[in-house]
């Protein structure tokens, strides 16, 4: 039995929107295991981002518990969460969230500046196949390249976990596949525990496990008998 990196129990999250309460999560139990690649599927508004943000220490649940390697994450203590994010988590977002005033290398340096045992920005960019684009500003890169810079930035600190929220959402199919190949390679070569959110059920084929959310619940969890290489996917 592999060890659980994340253990989430009975998570709920309620947003107060003026008069209305929005229940984004309604009791989620989920374990993510060491070195595993998990895909989170589900329709828009089903609570995928909310769940991932809680796992990554960006947000805290309204009730329930989350543990990361036994350490409690459902805490109000901002310093603890910041340290957790700084030391262990790499994030990749749908819209890249690169700093437009910094070059690719500098965007990665932003993270290596504060990490304990980072790759160099050049190594990280090499890993995502952008060794030739070090000094380009985000505006000078295509969407796929920007997303790969974002991945380089996420993995440069050699994080224990990599959390990706719709990393291919803004990309066309072939560019999306290039990005997924990078994520797959990081997971395989560095052993980084990885979770990928997507709307696209086909992407589930590259995962060890596919978790499907619906209206704040986990509807089903399926383990794939084998991981289809990202390069073979198509949609």
């Amino acid at each position: 039995m592999p060890t659980a990196v994340f253990e989430a129990r009975n998570l709920t999250k309620t947003y107060q929107m003026g008069e209305v309460e929005v229940q984004a999560l309604r009791g989620v139990d989920l374990d993510l295991f060491e070195g595993e690649l998990t895909v989170l599927l589900g329709p828009s508004g089903s609570g995928k981002s909310t769940l991932l943000n809680i796992l990554g220490g960006l947000d805290i649940p309204t009730s329930g518990t989350v543990r990361y390697c036994g350490e409690v994450l459902d805490t109000d203590d901002d310093a603890t969460l910041t340290r957790f994010r700084r030391e262990h988590v790499g994030f990749v977002f749908q819209f890249y969230n690169l700093i437009p005033s910094l070059t690719a290398r500098e965007n990665v340096a932003l993270i290596t500046d504060i990490a304990t045992n980072p790759l160099t920005p050049e190594e990280a960019l090499q890993l995502v196949g952008l060794g030739q684009r070090l000094d380009h500003f985000p505006a000078q890169l295509s969407g796929g390249e920007q997303q790969r810079v974002a991945i380089a930035r996420a993995i440069a600190k050699q994080p224990h976990v990599l959390l990706c929220d719709e990393p291919t959402g803004a990309l066309d199919a072939s560019t999306g596949i290039v990005v997924l190949e990078v994520i797959e390679r990081i997971n395989r070569e560095l052993g980084t525990t990885t979770a990928v959110i997507t709307h696209n059920a086909i992407i589930g084929q590259m995962a060890d496990r596919v978790v499907t959310l619906s209206e704040g619940h986990i509807q089903k969890t399926e383990a794939n008998p084998w991981r289809r290489p990202a390069g073979e996917l198509s949609w």
Binding site: L58, F93, R153
Partner: protein, 798 residues
């Protein structure tokens, strides 16, 4: 932090790189704010360091040339009193002198000038009030016609050693040979008692050997003026009491300290007014800088929500993010302060030099305390941080998960104008303008306040001119209507009025009498001259608070509002008047009324009542005359040669001097004010415009794509600026008036006060300059709008 410490010495951290790139990206706005801060710090450093330099220079000057602490004039006393004066506890040194005002006949001047002759020892330099020779030499013993002339008078008449002037000494015409030109700490300003301003053409100081001067005035072995310096820590009040007791039998007018010395007081007032300027101007600039930082930073943070979210997601703490945005403030404030300090130092050097030349200080001590620079930087930082605090806190507190989601669409609502049912009047473009302004009330209010400040600065800069014009008008057109005032050497009987009214061209002659007194009420007292006026006075009018004419009552005193406030006395109450001349009577006299004038401490009563108080018959000490302008030349010639006339003051001359002095100062101030106000106006308008442009470029680009013309979208953006400016102008006029009140209050000294008068054209000028600056800023932004890259704008995700 391993990487950080590993590379820190060589490589700049990426977050700092972001700071610098972002700053470079908004360089127009950064420069505008830097300039506003620089102006604030420059005026701060300039005023405070000029103030310190002038104080220091004056102190060194006084010390080196031994400016005394006490002054006393009397009728005549034997020199043997020196011992007694020296024995008074606390007295360090005593200088006995003969001082006399004489009429001078200056070539090229129809009207007479007044010369003050002051005795100096021939064999050595004076022990107190030493002279600084600028040209020529000191007087020599055995020569009875050598004088040293004050530099101010020498410059006004182009006199140099070797020249001579003619004067009437004790009734005899005498030629005085100028051997030297000198400065004295006693006459930094050559002001005659009773005048408001120095007039270097018509009043000059001459120093003459004491043997010669004593002989000319039959004062051998006697003196009529004494200077005393005190030991450190001596009780001035007690020394004054002793001196007064000792000299009272000899016709003493009462000893007084530096605080009542005309030149020193004038100098102190001028130096002090620098301090007011050193506070008000920087406060305005830094206040505006604070507003601008608030506007710009809150927009910056608004556009960088997602960048902030990313930074936090990767483990930058709230503190790191807060510090990053405070970094913007720090860079801008430090850059602005550096620029301002350098500029301020340069201006302070120039200004101190100008003042030193103007005051004719023989020495110049330039001082810049590091503490002023540090204090300036501290204040600027505080202002910057206050301005940015709200935005920076918002950035620091922004929950990362929240920031990841795009900001929810802005909620708009119908504006006040529309809710009032005026929507028919508004075109869609106009509606957009008003909705935008109403949706961000804080930003709108801050922008208006900022622009209003520029208007306020301009009003403030010009109000002095209006007020002084009004003052001159009131004082010389309404209150003092004489052409010439004459003062006599000795009080004389009423027959002198008759004699003088028969001089050529005299239309009307009115007698006056001046008496030196000390006025007491409760424990408060002041030295005040009482002027006796005839009941049917026409050439000199007293006005009450409503600017209505007041007649001199047969009994009782009319005192100036300032004096009434200082003594805390009201009409109906009585003050104790201690006369400091002749028989020195002491009487309680009721206050009959309070007059409104601008010249500080003054008291008037009926000349008959004053003569009764002095136990004299009909006595006059001076006259006010009006004369036919055809005969001025002859009249002046007669007055110049009259042995009874001590001095003559010509009104037109006074007015001219006043205007010249003021005009030069004011013009220079005006240029600076326009510059400063423009910096503020352009800074505020430009920044508001850039922020609006950044907020609206998507909407505007969309409008362009669906077919609006450049003019039409410019109208939306520039219309917003126009509305801001138009609303700001009346607000600014009010602010200017308020600031004027503050300044007038600061200038309200015992010597004079400045009425707060602001002419419509001053308001107009302020409005026009600000409007022009706004239009200029609008045009700069409009150029950007014309180059709006539609594709790029629409592609970026807000």
């Amino acid at each position: 932090m391993a990487a950080a410490s590993r590379g820190a010495e060589l490589v700049m951290l990426a977050i700092h790189r972001k700071l610098l790139r972002d700053l470079a990206h908004m360089k127009g706005q950064v420069i505008a704010i830097c300039l506003v801060i620089a102006c604030g710090i420059a005026t701060f450093v300039m005023s405070l360091s000029t103030l310190a330099s002038l104080r220091e220079t004056r102190a060194v000057y006084y010390e080196r040339y031994r400016f005394p602490h006490l002054f006393v004039s009397l009728k005549r006393a034997p020199e043997t009193l020196r011992r007694r004066l020296e024995e008074i506890t606390g007295v360090r040194a005593v200088e006995l002198r003969i001082v006399s005002d004489v009429t001078l006949d200056m070539p090229g001047m129809d009207e007479p000038a007044v010369g003050r002759l002051i005795s100096i020892p021939e064999t050595h330099r004076p022990g107190l009030c030493n002279l600084h020779l600028r040209a020529g030499r000191y007087v020599e013993a055995g020569r009875d016609d050598e004088v040293i002339v004050s530099e101010a008078f020498a410059d006004a008449h182009e006199l140099k050693p070797g020249d001579s002037v003619t004067a009437i000494l004790n009734g005899r015409l005498q030629t005085l040979h100028i051997v030297g030109v000198a400065l004295s700490p006693e006459y930094v300003f050559q002001i005659r008692g009773g005048e408001m301003l120095p007039d270097d053409r018509r009043f000059g100081v001459f120093w003459m050997g004491e043997t010669a001067l004593a002989a000319a005035f039959d004062m051998t072995g006697a003196f009529n003026n004494a200077l005393l310096s005190l030991m450190r820590g001596a009780a001035e009040e007690q020394v004054i009491e002793h001196v007064d007791d000792l000299l009272e039998p000899y016709g003493s007018l009462g000893a007084y300290g530096r605080d009542e010395h005309a030149s020193d007081r004038y100098l102190s007032d001028e130096i002090r007014s620098l301090r007011g300027m050193g506070m008000i101007a920087p406060a305005i600039f830094l206040g505006v800088a604070s507003l601008l930082l608030n506007i710009v930073l809150s927009r910056l943070i608004g556009t960088q929500r997602e960048q902030i979210a990313a930074l936090k997601a990767f483990g930058y703490s709230n503190r790191d993010v807060g510090q990053h945005y405070l970094g913007f403030v720090l860079v801008i404030v430090v850059a602005g302060s550096l620029l301002g300090t350098v500029g301020g130092m340069w201006m302070a050097r120039r200004l101190t030099q100008l003042y030193a030349e103007f005051y004719r200080f023989p020495i110049l001590q330039y001082r810049l305390d590091a503490s002023v620079v540090v204090l300036g930087l501290g204040i600027a930082l505080a202002a910057g941080v206050v301005g940015a605090l709200i935005s920076v806190r918002r950035a620091a507190k922004l929950p990362p998960a929240e920031a990841m989601r795009p900001e929810s669409p802005k909620s708009f609502r119908a504006t006040l104008l529309e809710r009032l049912g005026l929507q028919q009047l508004l075109s869609p473009a106009t509606r957009m303008i008003f909705r935008n302004l109403e949706r961000q009330p804080v930003k709108t209010a801050l922008s208006i306040l900022g622009i209003a400040m520029s208007v306020g600065v301009l009003v403030l800069g010009n109000f002095m001119e209006d007020s002084l014009d009004y003052l001159m008008d009131q004082q010389f057109q309404i209150a003092q209507r004489q052409d010439v005032s004459v003062s006599l050497i000795e009080p004389a009987t009423g027959s002198v009025v008759h004699d003088i009214s028969h001089l050529p061209g005299v239309i009307r002659a009115e007698p006056i009498r001046g008496v030196s007194t000390r006025m007491h009420f409760g424990h408060r007292s002041r030295r005040v001259g009482i002027t006796g006026l005839p009941p049917d006075m026409q050439l000199f009018q007293l006005l009450d608070a409503n600017r209505q004419r007041l007649d001199v009552p047969p009994e009782g005193l009319l005192i100036s509002d300032k004096l009434a406030r200082i003594l805390e006395v009201q009409p109906g109450q009585s003050v104790t008047v201690e006369v400091l001349q002749e028989e020195r009577p002491v009487r309680d006299i009721p206050i009959a009324g309070v007059i409104d004038d601008f010249s500080g401490l003054a008291a008037y009563m009926s000349i008959d009542a004053l003569n009764r108080l002095m136990q004299d018959g009909e006595t006059v000490s001076g006259l006010y005359l009006t004369a036919d302008s055809q005969h001025h030349r002859e009249l002046y010639a007669e007055l110049k040669s009259s042995p009874r006339v001590a001095s003559v003051t010509i009104r037109s001359g006074m007015l001219q001097t006043f205007r010249e002095t003021m005009a030069e100062n004011l013009l220079r101030m005006k240029a600076w004010n326009v510059f400063f106000a423009s910096v503020i106006a352009i800074g505020v308008v430009y920044n508001s415009a850039r922020v609006s442009l950044s907020e609206r470029s998507r909407d505007l680009a969309t409008l362009r794509v669906i077919g609006f013309s450049r003019q039409e979208i410019s109208l939306i953006l520039l219309g917003e600026l126009a509305v801001l400016t138009l609303v700001a102008i009346p607000v600014g006029l009010l602010i200017g008036r308020g600031l004027g009140e503050l300044v007038a209050l600061g200038l309200d000294t015992e010597l004079y006060r400045i009425p707060l008068v602001i002419n419509p054209d001053t308001y107009g000028f302020a409005a026009i300059v600000t409007l022009t600056a706004s239009v200029l800023a609008g045009l700069i932004v409009r150029r950007r709008l014309d180059h709006l890259d539609l594709v790029a704008v629409l592609k970026t995700r807000e």
